[in-house]
Each structure stands twice: as C-alpha cells, then as structure tokens.
Symmetry: D2
Subunit: 337 residues, 4 copies
C-alpha cells in the first residue's frame, strides 16, 4: 500500500506518519521524488481502510493498493524516473549513456588504449572485468585486485568513471573506489550480495539472470533498495532459451516493461546477449530505438587475442563507427548521448 | 555444394551442366541472381573434386562446399537479396513494408474502415484473418471463406494487396486470388502444406514456430523453394520461453542472423510476439532499427470489442502515429516506407 | 458447468434436459461413464443458478462449475478413467501397454522381423512410420502408402494391431484400416486435422507438441472429443528446453498431472524424448513407476542401418531384455503388461 | 588427457611422474580408485604423443584424450563410482539414500518431531533450511544460525546426520559441524563459494541451477574437486521451462547422463522440482526406477502452517507411506534403502 503525500508538507509530520505505522508493525519505505513524496507500507495491509486514512491524516493526498511484491522499485510508488549521476554522465530518462571497454582488464597498455579510444568515440563510462566468473576452474579468472588498480589508472588518465563486476560481499571494500558496482547475471539472486550492496551509497548495475523473469529482476532490485541504496541500474543481457545460434536471446520487450513497471534506468548489453560480433551494432541500434537509457558494449584493442570473449568484442574502429551512427539516431530520440 | 557460373554464358551450356549432374544422381537447384548464376547440388558430394570441376567445365567460375542443410535459401548460394513485388510494394532490401489490419475479419464495414485508414497512414498491404487457429474448439474460428471475400472487397476499394493465413493444403484454391499466403507459426513444420505452397507461384509469408530454431525456419523455407516457389518472406514473431509477462519473447537477433544466412526478406510481427498493445510501437521502432525489411502489425477500429486478440491491437489513431514516427526513422535507414 | 445426473434415469428425460439447454444457446457434451452420467454446458454459464437447477430438475444429482476450458476431457466431468480397447490390448488404468516397432517401415522383411520379435517379447501394438515428417526436404520421407500396406501385412502375420502417423486430414481414408491413428508432435495444433480425426470412430494417439503446455495438450484432445471421438490416448514425448545433451526434456510430471486432470489414458515415448539409446531403458522404468498407462518405444532389427533415428532405437535383444525387466516391475504396480 | 597407471606401482614413481608434468607447465589431478590410479593433465596437451609416453614411462598402462572440460569428475578418468559415507549412510552405487525434513527449521519441537518421525520411516539424513534464499526481501529469511543449532539438537536426539544450505563463503565456519553442506540452485555458479567448499573436507550436495545444463553442473562439481574436495553429491531438482503447471520441469534424463559421464553420486529433489505435493510420491518412485542414488524430499509436521513451501511438503504419514512403497521397490533395484 502506498500513500502519496501532499506537496510542501512539514518533515516532522511525515516522520510522525511513518512512526505511527511502524508502531503498528508495518515496515515503511519513504520515496522522495521531485514531484511527489510517497510512503509505502510493507506488511499485511488487508484491513487498512484507505478512505479513513485519507480523511484523518491531513498530509495524505491519496492512497492505493500495490499488488506487486516490489514496492520501492515500483513506478506506482515513485512515478518520476530515477536519474543516476555518475561522473559527467546522467543515467536515466533523457540520455543514452554508453558504457564500453574490454571483457577483461589484461594490462595497463590495453586498458589505457581502450579507455582513451572509447572516450574519444563518445563512451561516458569505462567497463573492465577484474574478477571473472568462469564456467571452468581452469580458465583465466581475471587479474583480480590488480585489474581494479589498472582500471583506476585508466580513469585517472581519461576522467572516465569505471564499472567492474563484484563477485561476493567480502569484496565490498575493494570496490569502495569503483564508480559503479556491477552484479553479474549469475549473482542476480545472490541475496547476501544484494543486501551488502544495499548498504553502500554507490550506483549498482544489476544484470538480469539468464533464467530469471522480469519480475524476479525487479525483486532483486527491491533487495538493494530495501537496504537503503536507491541508485540501481537494471541491465537486460539476454535469457536462456532453446535457440542455440546466439549465446542467449536478447529480450527487448523486457526493456519496455521494466520502464513501465519501475522508475529505475534500464541499460542493455548486446555483447553478452548475442555472443557474436556482427550482431552487436544492429542490436545496439534496436536498443536505442526501443527506449533503453543506455548501452553496455564490449570493445577490445585486439579482439582476436582477447583472453576472454573476443568473439563478441568490437574493435576500436567498429565501436567508433557504431557511436557515430548512434549519435545521429539519438537526435531522433531527443536524447543526449 | 554450389557452383558459381561465369557471367554471360550460354543457357544451353548451363542446362547441359545441370543435366550431367542429375544423370549422376544429384538433385540440383538453379539460382539466377542479377549478378551471379549458381547451381547447387544436393546429394552426397563428399567425393567431388571441386578443382577438377573448375578446370574441366569452362562455364564454372568457382565452387564451394555448403555445410548448412539449407541450400536454395542460403546466401552463400544466392548472394543477392531477394526482393518480392506485391502490388505497389517491393518487399526486401531497401524498403520497409508495413502490413496491417485486424486479427480477424469481422464484417464488411470493419475491414473496409480499417483498410482505408491503414492505407492512408502508409500501410502497403492489408492483413486479415479468415481462418483462425484457436486453442479452444469452442472459440470463434474466423469467418472462413466469407472472410476472404470481404478481404477482396476491401482490396477492390483501396487497392491494397491482401494477405491471409491458410490452414491446410486443401485450401490452396481458395487462396488463388489472395496476394500473399501466410503460413502461421503452428504450421511452420506442416510439411505437406509447405510442399503445397511450394507448387504455387505466389508470395508466401512463413512465420517462425514458437519452439522452432532459426535453422528450422530456414529449412521450412527450403521446403517451399525446393518445390519451385522462390517468393518466400520470413517472419519472426516471438518464441516460447520461461518469461510469462509477454506472450512470447521477440527474438530480434534472429532478424540479423536470418538476413546474414539467407537472401530472403525478413519481416517481424511485434503484435503476436508481445501480446500487449503498449509494447507494439517501441518494438516496431526496434524492428526497423535492427534491419528488418518490414513489419506486420495488428490494427482494429475498436480493439476493445475485437473478437480475437484485441489486447494486442493498435487502434487506428495509434497506428497512424506509429507510421508517422516510422517514416521519420526510415530516412535514417535509407529505406522507402 | 457440469451436471452429474442421478443413476438409472430415463433416457428421454436426459434428452429433454439437453434439448432445453441447447434451446437456450448452450452447446452440450454428454458423458456416459460406468458410474455416472454427466452433461456439460459450453457457453456463458455465469448467470446459471446451480441450486435452482438441482431443485427444479429431478434428474440432476448435483452441479459444479468447471473453470478449465477443457470440458469433455476433464476428470471433473467424467471421473471414471477411460479404457480404450485395441485388439487384445486395453489401454488405460490397470494395464501397461507397450507399443513398439521401427521409426520407419523400410521393407517387408524388416517390419515382419521386428513385429514377430516385439510380439514375442510382449509388445501389444506394432508401430511403424509410413509418412515421416522430416525437417529437411531432402531427407527420406517414408515409404508413404506402401509403408501402410507393409504394416498391414505384418499385422496379418502377427495379429498385432498397428499404429502409424497421419500427416494431414486428406489421408483419413488411407488410415481407415489402421488401428490407431497417431497425431505427431508437430501436428498437435493442426486444428483441421484434429477436427477430422474427431469425426472418425477409431482410437487416436495424440502426441504433445514440443513447445506445448499440458493445458494445450488437453485442449487439443478436447478438439477431438468435441468432434465426437472419445477414444483419445495422450502421449508425452519430451519438450524443448535449453538443455542440448538430450534431444528433448522428458516431462514425467506431465504424466501425473494429465492423469489427475483428465480421464484419458497417458502413454510415454522415451525414444523421441531423449534421442539416445542408452537412456531408453532407464526412462522406460521411470515411466512405469510414475504411473503411465503405457510406453511407446522404437526398436529396429539393425539400428546402425536404420534410415531414420537409428541412434535412439533399441535392437531386438535390448527390447526383449527391457520387457523382461518391465514385467517384473508391473507386478509391483498391479498392472497387466 | 588422462594416463591410467599400472597396478601396484611405487608411490615415488607416481610422484615423480606428476612432478615431471608440472615442471612442463601442466596442472595435474591424481585420482586413486579401488581398481585404477589415474593422472589427469590440464593444459595444452595437443602436442603430447601418447604412444611415446606409454613407451617411455613404464608405470603407464595407457593414455587417452578427454575432450570434455571436466576432468576430475569424469568417469573416463575415474571409472569406479564414488561412494560417500555420511553417518550410517553410504551415498552412491548400491544404495538409495533418503534425505528428508522441513523446508525451514521453525522451532525445536518442529524439527525434533519431524526428525524422529522421518527416521522411524527410514530416512537416513535430516534436512532443514536455516538460511533461506527468498525472492522477496520482505519474506521469512530462515532462523539463520539458530536454525543450525536446532538441527544439531535434532541430530543429537536421533543420530541422523544433518544437511543444510550454505549461502556464501563467509559462512564456512558456521557449517563446520554440519554433516553435508548444501549448495542451492541459485549458487551453482557462485564460483567463490564453490572454491571455498573445495577447501573443506566434508561432503557437498550441489544442486543443479534452474537454467544450467548438465555440462555446467559437472563443471561446477569440477570447481569443488579441483579445490581438493572429492566428496561431491550431484542433485537434479528441475529446470526452468515454458511449462507453468509445475514450478520446474524435473529432468530425469539428466540423472542417467550424469551417472554415465561422472562417477559422482546423483540424488533428486522432486519437492522443489514440482512444487506440488501430489506429484512428490509418483516422481519419487520414478527417481528410484531411473537409477538415482538417493532422494531428497520435504516433510513437515503440519504442511498447511509451514512458513515456507508448505504446498510441496508431505506430511509425516504421507512420507511414511512413501517410504514403505520405496522399500518394496528397492528390492527390485537390488539397493539398500
């Protein structure tokens, strides 16, 4: 159940309102938007008479029942689109933010070359894997903490904020100086990790699990927001289906639905979704057209020699060409890129 | 195995070349493009020495082995994109053809009102279901032959070519005067129907089955082309996955792959893929951006009262707004719409 | 909505009861079981007052609302398990009927050798494909009508009833003398074919489509029963999932659910489900243990040389060993085999 | 690549053999079975001449290339079936071990009542969730450490070894005194957790992820074995498919394939697979018949009031009836239960 409060009301009255509900055993979520302030009740609200509350609490504009299990992420609770500032970028409504970089950080030369190039092409955020989740215990597992150091060097050189994937909650401190913490698809329902990133004050990019529904993605975002961190970016990256010609099946309908049901920004990763280089550019154009707030795309200075996922990485020229194309298209969408 | 022939060669020599292979027990497919002529051999080609053939047959430019089971539909055999003329429309490379109309033909007034409106908005082909495949035997099964008559009346009034779904091979004669014969998703592997439409000289729109792979779709198109009909339009319309928030999961990667692997035109139906009206317009924009050759979208003069699938139909104003938007975007794609 | 009638009531009264409802615009299904007679109404039953009907119609024992769309196949309508006699076999509750034979009929020698052998091992029905649905137009399409003739010769020699797959409704006459007509997985929603076999008086084995839900299978059975043919045997044969190590994923939970929701017999085909010979015997034991009414298993006198699907066929000795094992197990299930 | 060593060879020679390969940059896995000792090489073995090794190393019986990425879990490397002793139970070939207990530990009374009852019925191991992975942050998250304490009290009372689910690698110490550590489906690819349980000396039950292939399950087991822990029990618990009538689709073919490809024991959890109480018993019978080494089944003293997953729990009488039935069947399988 959510109560939308009247504008310009006294903070103490809001706190008293919240306190009263918590005394009755409800959990509450306070959501302060630019236009509305909402208070969401969690608990058994079946017996609450909404009309009675509206009549007796003069700070309440109106109330409504939310049947979805996700509350804090729900657009019904928080109707303004959330916009998350990261460095110079604003991720959310009105912009199309491109995140780019190699699958894995491999060396200082590599990450700096890629960072400078993608920045020149128009990327706003640098990605690079330091800890790599790999199906085989015998495969390259990433440069680990050293990889994070190299990412930070690249940030210093270029000014680009950085994003990298965290593997578990014991690494939270290691990621203190990383601009966006990425939760990978396999960790979308690692609830202890979700709780841990819920306690930090830093943007989190949450990837959809390959067998997870749109609703489960929203519930995982709810874990993070319920912990107190409202800077969550949702990321569609393909789901597992019977089709084997692509690594996964990119679900662009999910982008539209996520933006309808939630106020959080939504970005898309066509590189991991398809696993095929020649599909990345056409899918990226579709991602922009369907209404996503951003794009995450793998680039490499030498895809043929990449230690991981080279087959899906664009080289620097291909990425530059894609960015030129996307910039023309962004005009039509009335989005900054 | 495919042999690309030299340019400007004598027809008799080609026929002799084909005859020689057939005498040895091979089936052949002759593919005449604007730039190349190719002869494809079906059968056990393991022992053929390509170099020997090139050296001894002066009409052969070069030969290559095709490992895919699909031959006639293969872009390796026929590198020019196939363009299929239907009325004023050209379906294929360079255009973005929009097919629109109601899920079911319901009355003369309805089909004429919709036809005139979608034509004014820019649709090039009128769709309308006469025979409806319905999961329940107790559900409305379509107006049947009467539906086809009404479609033809709408064609007469508007000049729009018509497309409608055939249910089985005994209906071939009924569809003689229908401009494009549609094979529905459930019939994608109705091989007797595929053989039957392979014998007619009329465009066939072949929808991907909801549990069928990209390769199986190409093999079903191969059935039609192997029968002698090369006017096949492929249609992606969503596949069945674990996600239940949409009716099906639209697979836009398939569009890119189909156009890479085959020379046939590819259109997309976002209405059936999503089953949700508010998803149709954003997905349609993505369809154009990803590189499809056309769009099939359901419209209705009164979606709330549609006898079938109203929840996914655009009303006439929504369709008009979508077309205006798509026309602006088509400029960027350098496509006629 | 279904009305269960009192026992030993006058037939004329039943007919009058049915007539009255049909006059009001409802369709009806009359289901006569050994213990109960039921009348099922199809149509908008929202406004019917069940209590009023029970009070005013003295032939009605009680009534209940059926929310499922399937009526005739519903165990709520017809609580007795349907048992279908075919030759010496009774397919349904209390027996475990094994259907066996080659994927394709290939020659008189082959089909007779297999038929005699599987009969000796304990199979009750002989299967053999005459018309083969093949993904590739260039693959062996079966011996067609000649295959059916050879099956009948094998029946004459061995006394085993025969089952073979029909491809479309124009073949109905060809199958007049076939004991069970099989609808393949790809045709599960070929509604014209379902209607056609609904008009014949002969058992139909209906295979689940590889992307079809349990509910859709029941709706397809409903098509056949709505046409007047109540001799429907349901067949689980695996569904398409992301797992590629088996051809399909056998869904044994479906067997239990189908028997709970419907009164129709359920058999299972582990050969097509797995596509792997070494899985057939262990899965067959699980099929018996889970409560299915029968088994369909491919056997071949020489699997290595089979023209189709040899990799999943048992040879005659393997089949014999499996039958010996199943017979011991059937004792525990209190089922005749 | 694996080298099978001759019998009764000197340990020093084996160590020297391993040392020599490691000097050349290969990782090795030593697998000592009751009949064979094998040394498996990990690394680029393309240039190794097997014949040369056999001729020059007198301790080598023969060598073979293993193309699968999993080595330590591979039956080609270690042909004897692994049998894992837990309390009085032996999990593996020759037995059918039943693990039972509530989804969640809820109170001392509850867990003791259930433990005593399932022991009397024949269960060999007590399950009980202390940490519960829940989709919603607002749902009951388990009794946490207190739940483990209650499980240990129940163990003391009954003598039954206990199994409970670990959530992340920081909990390793908490589980020191738990007999089997369970990795849940959502954590099957939590590689840090897999590495952590690879370093302990205690049986690990590894559940298949709901979108994970059989091969990925084996690779996750490989992570644990590569860390030095060879006591891994695989658990099939259903995969996510388009079918919605059951919570997941139980994949019994996977049991047969896992036992063919790996030497590890395989158990099955039909409760989580189906999510429906009335399916548990028939599926459990199928699990035994298909050749699994054990069963994990949820029981509750009062399913209607269970805090979690009551709909799929058997009550104590139902569980007792199931065990009586399974004991009769186990005789046929020549398995101790």
């Amino acid at each position: 159940m959510v109560f939308i409060l009247k504008n310009n009301i006294n903070k103490d009255k809001v706190n008293q309102f919240i306190y009263d509900w918590e005394q009755q055993g409800f959990s509450t979520i306070l959501s302060v938007g630019t236009e509305h302030t909402a208070v969401c009740l969690i608990g058994n609200t079946a017996n609450i008479d909404i009309d009675h509350v509206v009549q007796t609490c003069d700070i309440v504009e109106y109330g409504k029942r939310i049947t979805e299990q996700y509350k804090a992420v729900n657009r019904n609770v928080h109707s303004d689109s959330t916009i998350i500032p990261v460095g110079d970028a604003l991720i959310g409504e009105g912009t199309f933010t491109v995140i780019s970089g190699p699958c894995s950080v491999e060396s200082e030369e590599q990450i700096i070359e890629v960072a400078e190039s993608v920045k020149a092409s128009g990327a706003k955020i640098l990605r690079g894997g330091a800890f790599k989740p790999r199906t085989s215990p015998y495969a390259f597992q990433g440069m680990q903490a050293d990889g994070l150091k190299l990412l930070k060097i690249a940030r210093e050189k270029t000014g680009l904020p950085i994003i990298s994937e965290i593997m578990n909650q014991t690494q939270i401190e290691l990621f203190e100086d990383v601009d966006i913490v990425q939760i990978g698809a396999r960790n979308m329902q690692n609830f202890d990790l979700l709780k841990a990133v819920g306690r930090i004050k830093k943007p989190v990019l949450l990837k959809r699990g390959l067998a997870n529904t749109i609703e489960e993605l929203l519930m995982s975002a709810e874990y993070i927001m319920a912990g107190g961190n409202s800077q969550v970016i949702l990321c569609e990256r393909g789901i597992r289906t019977f089709e084997t010609m692509t690594r996964n099946t990119l679900d662009l309908s999910a982008v539209v639905l996520l933006k309808q049901k939630s106020h959080l920004p939504v970005v898309v990763d066509p590189s991991h979704a398809s696993g095929i280089r020649s599909l990345v550019a056409p899918l990226a154009k579709a991602v922009l057209a369907v209404g996503a707030d951003g794009l995450m795309v793998e680039t490499h200075n030498n895809p043929a020699k990449a230690l991981c996922d080279g087959a899906q990485s664009l080289d620097l020229l291909e990425f530059d060409a894609l960015m030129k194309d996307l910039k023309k298209r962004a005009v039509l969408e009335e989005k900054a890129i």
